[in-house]
Amino acid sequence: MLKVENLSKIWKDFKLKNVSFEMDREYCVILGPSGAGKSVLIKCIAGILKPDSGKILLNGEDITNLPPEKRNVGYVPQNYALFPNKNVYKNIAYGLIIKKANRLEIDRKVKEIAEFLNISHLLDRNVKTLSGGEQQRVALARALILNPSILLLDEPTSAVDIKIKENIISELKKIKHIPVLHITHDLAEARTLGEKVGIFMNGELIAFGNRDILKKPKNKKVAEFLGFNIINDKAIAPEDVIIKDGNEGEVVNIIDYGKYKKVFVKYNGYIIKAFTERDLNIGDNVGLEFREETKLS
C-alpha cells in the first residue's frame, strides 16, 4: 500500500503541488501531458528527489526520508537506463549481487524472471544491441527481480513505436502480484491498464479514482486534456457524438484512421470532434446527435 500525503516539490522547471493519493495492490496509472512534472512524483517516491514537504508511506512505514537503497521500490525510468557496461544477465542480476545473494539463487531468479518476460534468449547480449522493446523488458526484469513493494514506471512506452507499445502493454498486464504506479501521457494506456487512474496537470493531481473518471471529466481543463468536445459547460466525448444526416454541421477536416474516420465538424460556432465510419468529404453537411453529456463544474 502506498500513501502519498500533501507532497510538494520544486525541481528544475517542474513542480508538485500538494499531491495526495492512496493506492493498494493494484495497477494505478497517472495520466498527464508531457512536461507536467509527473516524473518528479515518481522520483520522490523512489527517493531520488527529496520532497520539500509532505509524506510518503509505503506499507505503513514512513519512507519520506529514507535513501533509495533502503526503500525496496522498483524503478524503470523513461529511457530504461540499462547499465551499458554490463550484459543483459548482469543487468538483471545487479540488485541480487548488491544484496550478496548466493550465486545459485541469482541464477535461478534471473532465469525465472527472464522466462516470465520472454527475454531468456537475450541474457548474453550486450545491452547496446537491444531494440527499444527488448530494453524495456530488461529494465522491467531488473526492477522486478527484487520483488519490490511497488513498481514505478515512467512513461514506459514513450520511446517505442505503436506495435511494440501494444506488446509492452500486454507484458505489463501480466504483473499482478506487485502494485504498479505507471505515469503516462497516453490515454489508451490509462484506459487499458488503469485499475485506478489519476489525472495530473500543472503539478497538481486534479482527479483520482477508478477508471470512470476518464469518462466523466470534472472540469473544463480535464475535459480538454482528455479530448472531449466542450459546448457551453458540457463535455461530450468524441465517441458519444453520432454523425447522421442533416445540415446543422459542416465537415471541416477528416483524418482517415482506417477502421473509422475522425471528423471535425463546424457546429454552432464550435469545432466538434467525432468518429464515423461514413464516407464523408470536407464541406459535406451533416447532422449531430450527442449520446451522452457530462456537466462541468
Binding site: 535513501p67 537503497e69 521500490v73 537506463a81 551499458p84 557496461n85 545487479y94 548488491i98 531488473r142
Partner: protein, 239 residues
C-alpha cells in the same frame, strides 16, 4: 570549386605543421647523443615528475570532476573559471606566481627548500599546469553518464559510494585515460615555469634549451626528436 579553394587553405596549414615535424624526424642528427648520461637523467626526471604529478592530479581530479558534474552550488562557475586559469596564464608567469607565493607567506617559506631547484618543484609546476585538463576531462565524463543509471542502481540497493565505484567510475574509463594523457603531456611540455622554479634537476625541455644555447642547433636536435617521439606515442594512445 568553392570547396577546392577552401581545401587549398587546409593543405597549406597542414604543410605548415607537417613539414617541419617530418623534416625533424627524418633528420634527427646524431642519435647516439641520447645515450649521454645527462640526457638519460633528464628523461628519467621528466617522466617521473610527470607520472607523480599526474597521479596526484588523478587523485584530486576524480572527486573534483564528480562534484562539478553532479552538483550546482553558489559560485560554481567562478570556481570552474579558477580551475581553468592555469591554462590561460602565460608559462613564465606561472613560475613567478608559485615562487612569489612560497616566499611570500612566512609559514610555508620552509617549503621553498623542497621546491626550488628540486624534483618536487617540477612536480608542483606539472600539477599546476596539468590539473585543468584532468578535471575537465573527468567532469565531462561524469556529465556524459546518465544520472538515471545512478538512480536505478540506488533503487536496486546500492548506496551512493557503491554506485560510484560499481557503475559511474567504470563508465568514464576513457575520460580518465584521456585526462591522464592530457595532463601528463601538458606537464612534460612545460619549460617557462620550470626555468624559474627548478632549473635543476634538468628536465628534457630545459636540457634542450640549454644545449641549444651553449652548443647550438645540432646538439639539441636528437634530444628533441626523442621528446617528439614520446609526445607522439602518448598522443597516439589518446586517439
Amino acid at each position: 570549386k568553392f570547396d577546392a579553394v577552401m581545401s587549398v587553405f587546409l593543405v597549406m596549414i597542414f604543410l605548415f605543421i607537417f613539414l617541419p615535424i617530418i623534416y625533424m624526424l627524418s633528420n634527427p642528427g646524431d642519435l647516439s647523443l641520447l645515450l649521454d648520461k645527462e640526457v638519460i637523467d633528464a628523461f628519467k626526471t621528466t617522466l617521473l615528475a610527470g607520472a607523480v604529478a599526474t597521479l596526484i592530479a588523478l587523485i584530486f581530479g576524480i572527486p573534483t570532476g564528480y562534484i562539478l558534474a553532479r552538483y550546482d552550488f553558489k559560485f560554481k562557475s567562478f570556481l570552474e573559471a579558477v580551475l581553468d586559469l592555469p591554462m590561460a596564464i602565460p608559462h613564465s608567469v606561472i613560475g613567478i606566481i608559485i615562487l612569489s607565493f612560497i616566499y611570500g607567506i612566512d609559514i610555508i617559506k620552509f617549503i621553498g627548500r623542497y621546491i626550488v631547484d628540486n624534483f618536487w618543484g617540477i612536480v608542483v609546476v606539472y600539477l599546476f599546469v596539468g590539473i585543468p585538463f584532468m578535471i575537465n576531462s573527468i567532469r565531462d565524463g561524469f556529465l556524459s553518464v546518465d544520472e538515471e543509471i545512478e538512480y536505478v542502481s540506488r533503487t536496486l540497493g546500492a548506496s551512493k559510494i557503491r554506485t560510484f565505484f560499481e557503475i559511474s567510475l567504470p563508465l568514464i574509463k576513457n575520460n580518465i585515460i584521456s585526462g591522464v594523457i592530457l595532463s601528463f603531456a601538458r606537464g612534460i611540455s612545460e619549460v617557462g615555469a620550470i626555468l624559474i622554479i627548478a632549473y635543476y634537476p634538468k628536465t628534457v625541455p630545459v636540457l634542450i634549451l640549454e644545449r641549444f644555447m651553449s652548443f647550438g642547433l645540432d646538439a639539441s636536435k636528437p634530444i628533441s626528436v626523442g621528446m617528439i617521439l614520446v609526445s607522439i606515442a602518448l598522443f597516439a594512445v589518446l586517439r
